[in-house]
Every structure is written in C-alpha cells, then in structure tokens.
C-alpha cells in the first residue's frame, strides 16, 4: 500500500528517488534483515526487481528496472485491518454527537426558562 504523501516525502528525503511501497524500512539494511511491512506484518528485506518510470525524455515514459531491498511479508504473518466503512461510520457518529451537543447547548441557552 502506498504510504501517505507526506510520510513518503519525509521518509525519502535523503534519496534521489522515491522508493516504492515497503522499501523505506529496508533503507540502509542488509538483505535478510527483519522488517515490518507498510501494513504492519513481520517481514524480511529481500532484493527485488522494481519497475520504475523514466520521464527524462518526456511522455509516455520508459519502463526501467532497478534492484532494491523490499520488505517482503513472511508467509505466516497476519494483520487485522478494520474495513474502511467501519472507520467512516465511526467518524460520522462522532460528528453527529458533536453537532448534537452543540445544538443541545444552544437550545438550553435560548430556552426562556433558563
């Protein structure tokens, strides 16, 4: 999974190029070193062929391949990820609660008996 834009930018600040997914955690590591993948699984840094696009001569770009250490998840590693719609629902619930509290507060202030 591609990392957030700014996280990607920051983590790749020292590189001349932006690494693909699961590459930043193997930066400076040896092949075979333990690592954690972008989605939180235990893995190992392995040399992989990585495709890149070369725009130096314009569009459409040329495809080139480079060797790069990538964090590859171990076969047994698992991670529990909540579906996005559950998170979205939770956010909506919090928003509704906030709005309700605000409206209730205003209602009390506007009430003639208060």
């Amino acid at each position: 999974m591609r990392r957030l834009l700014l996280v990607t930018l920051v983590s790749s600040a020292a590189l001349a190029d932006v690494p693909p997914s699961n590459a930043s955690q193997c930066q400076g590591a040896q092949a075979g070193a333990a690592c954690t993948t972008d989605d939180g699984k235990a893995g190992t840094c392995l040399t992989q062929k990585v495709g890149r696009l070369d725009y130096s001569e314009g569009v459409p770009p040329k495809s080139i391949e480079v060797d790069m250490l990538i964090c590859v998840a171990s076969a047994s590693a698992r991670v529990a990820v909540a579906p996005p719609y559950l998170a979205a629902g939770a956010v909506l619930a919090v928003m509704a609660l906030l709005l309700g509290l605000k409206l209730a507060g205003r209602g009390r202030r506007l009430s003639p008996s208060s």
Binding site: R3, L4, P61, A88, V91
Partner: protein, 332 residues
C-alpha cells in the same frame, strides 16, 4: 530585527519604485490606475507567468517554489485568515482550530485536519448553511478516515483551488475578475489534456538533475493508479496551480484585503506587517525563511520535503476558514 533599520533599508527601494512608476505612468495607468484594474492585470499576469514557467521548467518550479515562496505564503495565510479578521482573539475557536492543525502537522492522520474544518463550521450561527457545511465536512471526514491516502492526494491538489476561491470571495468584485479563476481552470485543463507537453519537451523540462528530483518521483508522490502519461499531466497541472496559489496569497489577496485602495510604500507595508505580528514573531518567521533557503542551497529536495512537512496545517486552515465564511459570511 530592528524596525528603524528595516525602514532605512526600504527607503531607497521606495524612492526607486516611485521613480519607475513616474516614468512608466503613461504606459501603466490604463492597466493599474485603480485597484480593480490593477488586481485584474496582476492576476492575469500571475496566471500567465505560472503557465509559461510550468512549460519552461516545471521541475525547477516544483523544487524552488516551496523553498522560496512557501514560508512567506504561510505567513500571508495566517495574516489574512486569522490575524486581520481578529480570530486570534477568540481563544476557544483558536484552541479548536489549533489543536487539530498542530496534530496533523506533527503526523496525525488527515482526519484530524478535517476536524479543524468542523470546528470552524460549527463556530457560526445555527442555520441551513451550517447544516449543509456540517454534512459536507462529515462526508469529508469519513473519506479522510476511511481512505486517507486517496484523500491526502485529492487534498494536496484541491487546496490550490481553495485559495482561488477564498480570494474571489474576499469582497464584491467586478465580473472582469472572473477571468482570473477562468484562466487558471482553463490552463489546468489545457495541461491535463497534454497541451503543454510540446513546450516542456522542447525546453528539456522533463529532467532537471540540478533539482535532485525527477518526474517519476513527483508522479509517485502526487498521483495514484493513473496512466503514466495522465499522471505526468496531473503533476504539471499541480505545478501550475501551486504557482497560482502562491500568487493568490502573496500578491492578489494582500492587494484586495488592504483598506487603502492605492498601493502603499514598502515602508508602509513593513509597518503594517510589524503591527500585525510584532517584531519577535516576524524575526522568527524571517529566520525560518532564510534557514529554509539556505537548506535548499545545500540540499534542495530535503529542504522542500521539510517545508512540506511544516506546511501541512495550512491547507486545512484555508478550508476551515472557507467553511466559516460559508456559514457566517465573509468578514467585513
């Protein structure tokens, strides 16, 4: 930083500008004689210049723009959205806006930034506008929470347009000013369909080793899942609109937000800036701008990255104030 010393430095600059204006008055008066015409031509000129520079040297524009203009434009953001309307005196609002903005700047997920927009929307009077804003922000928050990567990408591109909207909504304006957002949108559309490709290719703009970055890098960080050629066009469009965004904050909004309709001297501008922020804060911001520029000389990509990290808050601040204006109306 000493206020008197700054004024001493600016005095000869004011004299030089007065001389240039006197000499060029017959030529420039038809275009710059009053504020409406001045803003129109400055805006059109800024959009055209951004378009041409995007065609000539997009990678340099992407690399240098944030490092050179980034900090001043953040200062303008805070000045015209918070300080001038005196929102900084509303402590509960500032806390409600500030805490999520700081959180998102230090690495919290995008939904924290959206929370600041919610606070701004709810700070206005209860109305159908507030209800509509709440629904929009809630939907935005749900997307930011559930799909942070996609949201972040869309926000990075979209926030450039928010600045244009804020400028346009700043005050009642003649219909001729519609040319400025119209040209910006037309320019972006032209770039997105590949219209600028021949110029970029002819000028060798697809590569700029001196910047320490390449187009592939920007495609990875600014797009997701697009055809490689379309992705390059999206990056070019971002480059163009980012430059227009800077022009809005550094040129058009200051001209439009000023009470005095005529241009003022550099000295008067400095005095107004010092009055708004105070010299210690200006010295700190000045130090930050100079430090970032020095960092850029040594290591340009890292300086740009550092700036982008620092600036995370400002897109959400712009959106938050836009929501507040929608709910409460723009400040008088």
């Amino acid at each position: 930083m000493d206020r008197g010393a700054a004024l001493d430095v600016l005095t000869p600059l004011d004299a030089a500008r007065s001389a240039v204006l006197r000499m060029s008055a017959p030529l420039l008066t038809p275009f710059f004689g009053d504020r409406e015409r001045r803003v129109l031509w400055l805006g059109v000129g800024s959009v055209v210049m951004a378009f041409v520079l995007t065609g000539l040297a997009p990678l340099w524009l992407l690399a240098l723009g944030p490092v050179v203009l980034g900090v001043p434009h953040l200062l303008a953001d805070v000045r015209y959205l918070v300080v001038k309307p005196r929102l900084h005196r509303d402590v509960p609002l500032m806390l409600g806006l500030g805490v999520p903005l700081v959180a998102v700047t230090v690495g919290a997920p995008p939904v924290f930034g959206v929370l600041s927009v919610l606070v701004a929307a709810l700070s206005g009077p209860r109305s159908w506008r507030q209800g509509l804003a709440f629904l929009a922000v809630a939907a935005l928050a749900a997307v930011a929470w559930g799909f942070p990567d996609g949201f972040q990408l869309a926000f990075v591109h979209g926030h450039n347009l928010v600045a244009i909207g804020l400028w346009f909504a700043l005050r009642p304006r003649p219909s001729s000013h519609g040319w400025i957002p119209g040209l910006a949108l037309a320019g972006s559309a032209f770039i997105l369909v590949g219209g600028l490709d021949p110029l970029v290719t002819a000028m060798g703009g697809w590569r700029a080793p001196g910047t320490g970055s390449d187009f592939g890098e920007f495609v990875v960080t600014h797009t997701s899942g697009l055809d490689p050629t379309v992705a390059a066009h999206v990056v070019l469009s971002f480059c163009f609109l980012q430059s227009v965004h800077y022009a809005m904050w550094l040129r058009l909004i200051p001209d439009d937000a000023r009470e005095r309709r005529a241009p003022r001297t550099f000295r008067a501008s400095w005095r107004a800036l010092a009055q708004d922020f105070g010299l210690p804060a200006l010295a700190a911001v000045g130090g930050l701008a100079v430090g970032l520029a020095a960092w850029g000389i040594v290591e340009l990509p890292a300086a740009r990255t550092g700036y982008l990290h620092l600036a995370t808050f400002h897109g959400y601040l712009e959106l938050a104030i836009a929501a507040r204006w929608f709910v409460k109306g723009r400040p008088a």
